[in-house]
């Protein structure tokens, strides 16, 4: 987990952009896609996104590794939409309750593509944004309170430790005779006990970390920033790219006549 949070090996172009501009671009694209269930705008956005992945230092294999649950969820969603949505047009498959027609297939494909097109930018964003850089941007550019931002950042580092500690506590409790195998009730009881143990350790760790931070002068009014969060020409490109993807998707769907506002129904 901690290795995955660490992106020092990622020297891709998008990793150098300011996290806030990346957030803004992703927000633009997903906002447009959230407005319509049509396959044209989703496909256009998806094609753009797949073209952009190398810029985030991602390969298809890496993308699958990090995003497979989302990809499967989108496929399953598309499938169930196509068999359950109200039929229109020519019927393609008819198995009793389940029918798939041209209209429902189109809706299902739109649903799946849209799911992917909305989910992938999040994977892309996470893959090329270092948490420390994000914290810097949030505190320096978005002007969020630094105590809150840095406290959260330091706590996130402990999350990885807690995952290790969970495993250790599980073993330590098995060595005391608390079985985590067996029937469901036993497992629930064992998990509750283990969670309590983890909670105690988490609080201890957190208070020691708080002492460490305070002893390093954290919590005062003014502080300087060793890393300056800056905007550069790259960020203009990132924002421009977001506008371009969102705009093209919207315009193509309008032109193809498939634009279909979610709340207007069909």
């Amino acid at each position: 987990m901690r290795q995955e949070l660490n992106l020092q090996a990622n020297h891709a172009l998008l990793a150098r952009a300011n996290p806030l501009s990346k957030f803004a671009a992703v927000f633009l694209v997903t906002a447009v896609l959230a407005l319509s269930i049509d396959w044209v705008s989703a496909s256009v956005a998806l094609v753009f996104e797949l073209l952009l992945f190398p810029l985030a230092g991602l390969t298809l294999a890496l993308l699958w590794q990090r995003g497979w649950p989302l990809i499967i969820a989108a496929a399953v969603g598309g499938w169930s939409t196509s068999i359950l949505a109200p039929d229109s047009g020519k019927t393609l498959i008819d198995v009793g309750l389940w029918t798939m027609s041209e209209g429902s297939l189109e809706l299902g494909a739109g649903f799946m593509l849209r799911g992917l097109a909305i989910a992938l930018p999040a994977v892309l964003l996470m893959s090329c944004t270092d948490p420390t850089d994000l914290a810097d941007a949030l505190a320096q550019k978005a002007r969020l309170p630094h105590r809150f931002v840095l406290g959260t950042l330091a706590a996130m580092r402990l999350v990885g430790l807690l995952a290790e500690e969970w495993q250790t506590i599980g073993m330590a409790r098995r060595a005391r005779g608390v079985g985590s195998r067996g029937n469901a009730l036993r497992r629930v009881k064992a998990t509750l006990g283990q969670s309590f143990g983890l909670l105690v350790q988490a609080i201890r760790r957190a208070s020691r970390l708080a002492v460490t931070m305070e002893a390093r002068g954290f919590g005062g009014g003014t502080r300087t920033w060793a890393r300056e969060s800056t905007y550069s020409w790259l960020d203009a490109w990132v924002l421009g790219g977001g506008v371009l993807v969102a705009g093209t998707a919207f315009a193509t769907a309008l032109w193809a006549g498939t634009w279909n506002m979610v709340w207007l129904g069909s």
Partner: protein, 517 residues
């Protein structure tokens, strides 16, 4: 970059002076004060080792000097606490002087704040509002001073060893240019190589900056040559002073040698006496109970990559060992060699990556050959494991319930509980909450709880880490009795004296091959 620094050469460190007058402190929610009536003066640039039995308030004093006392204590409780008298750093309250003192605590994991080396060192200086250009000058200098300058600034802090994490913490402190460096058992969680690494880094930095040092540590020999004064504290009473002894190291150590030994301090050149085994152990004798063959071990489980399942990369492989009744097996080797992982696999708590652990009929008694497949109840009456951190194993809210827990699950064996309470000096504490015990008491309790289930094999992970000499000797003597009574004892340890005290065979594990993550 913003405006360049016009400060020129950084101001030299101004060593801090400490003055305590009748100072006392009571933690919120505690009946007795942690420190009472402390009178102490420390001159700028002095290097002081603080000794004393647990409960003498050493850590409390360090926290107070660091200006972090009062908001949150170690249990995370906030509330009403009491302060009396005065405690001053350079004639002002430590709380009002952020950055004047730097504090290093025991647990390396919580001494690191951020996930990249350079950022972590910069953190303190940022909080003191040092200009950006000067911060990076200080970061490079501090990393150089602690011997970590070979690491790139974006090196992940999670990839550092315990000793490196403590040196990193020292660099973070140095970057604040404090006049007072406070070390609270900085090496208690480290292996011998890590201890020296940290000690030498501290020595270099003090020679360079001339800062005042106050260090709390049980192991006197590590710090004796570095300090020029030893102060022995005692639990305060209303009539006596909190300072029991104060003077140059050699003088204090000779004057108070027997008193320090009685208090459990590791005095140089002294190894506590432990019980000898009645029969000289003959390696290779005793019934074979457990055997590891060509074992490959890892803490990680099989990972999922998309649909594929990848077996974990073993931290160590090709390990073979035998555990015999009445025999001690010591697992030694450098940090990261996979010693604990191996012991946990041997103890049926981790699944082997390759190879196998097999129990003989003398141990399995019908439960099957593979300890990892045993049910928890079957495991605890065959193989007992004492973890490095006792708190990980506490499952109830009372010492007595902790001891009865195993026997109750098994439906028998409560008769041994009284004997264990007596033998491990826990009788007075039966009603206490396990989490509130001292370090030594927790260790004794964790050993007793595991033994209450009558295991034939006892596995201990670093049982002597951070323990004072008294607990150490008690533990070694107790284990030698267990060995004589036919229990097999497997211990993972860095402690050569402990290994020698138990005798038996030693399994030395080499450093694990570097594995790319």
């Amino acid at each position: 970059m913003t405006a360049p620094s016009h400060h020129g050469a950084p101001a030299a460190v101004r060593p801090a002076a400490i003055s305590a007058r009748g100072w006392g402190w009571r933690h919120a929610g505690r009946a007795k004060p942690a420190v009472r009536a402390l009178d102490l003066d420390i001159q700028p640039g002095e290097r002081v080792l603080l000794l004393g039995p647990s409960g003498a308030g050493k850590s409390t004093l360090l926290h107070a000097l660091a200006g972090v006392l009062g908001d949150v204590n170690d249990d995370g409780e906030a509330g009403e606490s009491d302060e009396s008298g005065s405690l001053l750093v350079d004639s002002a309250s430590p709380r009002e002087q952020r950055g004047r003192a730097g504090l290093m605590q025991q647990d390396p994991e919580t001494q690191v704040v951020l996930s990249r080396v350079g950022d972590d060192v910069a953190f303190g200086a940022e909080n003191l509002a040092v200009p950006r250009d000067e911060i990076w000058t200080r970061v490079h200098e501090a990393l150089d001073d602690v011997g970590l300058s070979h690491l790139p600034l974006d090196h992940p802090t999670s990839a550092l060893s315990g000793g490196q994490k403590q040196r990193l913490a020292l660099a973070g402190i140095l970057a604040m240019r404090p006049g007072l460096i406070l070390l609270d058992e900085p090496t208690a969680n480290l292996d011998p190589a890590g201890v020296l690494e940290v000690r030498d880094a501290v020595a270099r930095c003090l020679d360079k900056t001339g800062a005042t040092l106050v260090v709390v540590e049980h192991r006197v020999s590590v710090w004796k040559d570095l300090v020029d004064r030893i102060v022995v504290l005692q639990p305060g009473s209303s009539t006596e002073s909190a300072v029991l002894l104060d003077g140059p190291p050699d003088q204090v150590l000779s004057e108070a040698r027997s008193m320090l030994i009685a208090a459990g301090v590791w005095v140089p050149g002294y190894v506590p006496e432990t019980r000898q085994r009645t029969e000289g152990p003959v390696p290779g004798t005793g019934d074979l109970l457990l055997a590891a063959e060509e074992l490959a071990v890892s803490r990680a489980r099989a990972r999922r990559k998309g649909f594929r399942k990848l077996p974990p990369v073993p931290v160590q492989q090709g390990i073979s060992a035998q555990v015999r009744a009445g025999q001690a097996l010591a697992i030694t080797g450098p940090n990261g060699a996979g010693k604990s992982t191996f012991a946990l696999t041997l103890a049926g708590l981790l699944e082997p990556v390759a190879g196998k652990v097999s129990a003989t009929l003398a141990l399995s008694r019908g439960a099957g050959i593979d300890p990892y497949r045993w049910k928890a109840e079957q495991l605890i009456e065959r193989v007992g494991t004492v973890f490095q951190e006792p708190e990980h194993q506490f499952v109830t809210g009372k010492v007595l319930d902790e001891l009865l827990f195993g026997p109750q699950h098994l439906g028998h064996g409560a008769e041994r509980v009284d004997e264990l309470l007596e033998r491990l000096r826990l009788t007075e504490l039966v009603d206490a909450n396990p989490y509130t015990l001292s370090g030594g008491e927790k260790r004794r309790l964790s050993v007793a709880t595991v033994l209450a289930a009558h295991p034939q094999v006892l596995v201990l992970d670093e049982p002597t880490f951070g323990q004072d000499a008294n607990t150490w000797a008690e533990l070694a003597s107790f284990l030698s009795e267990l060995l004589d009574s036919g229990t097999a004892v497997v211990s993972v340890t860095h402690d050569a004296e402990f290994t020698a005290a138990l005798g038996g065979t030693e399994l030395r594990m080499a450093a694990a091959p570097a594995v790319a993550s």
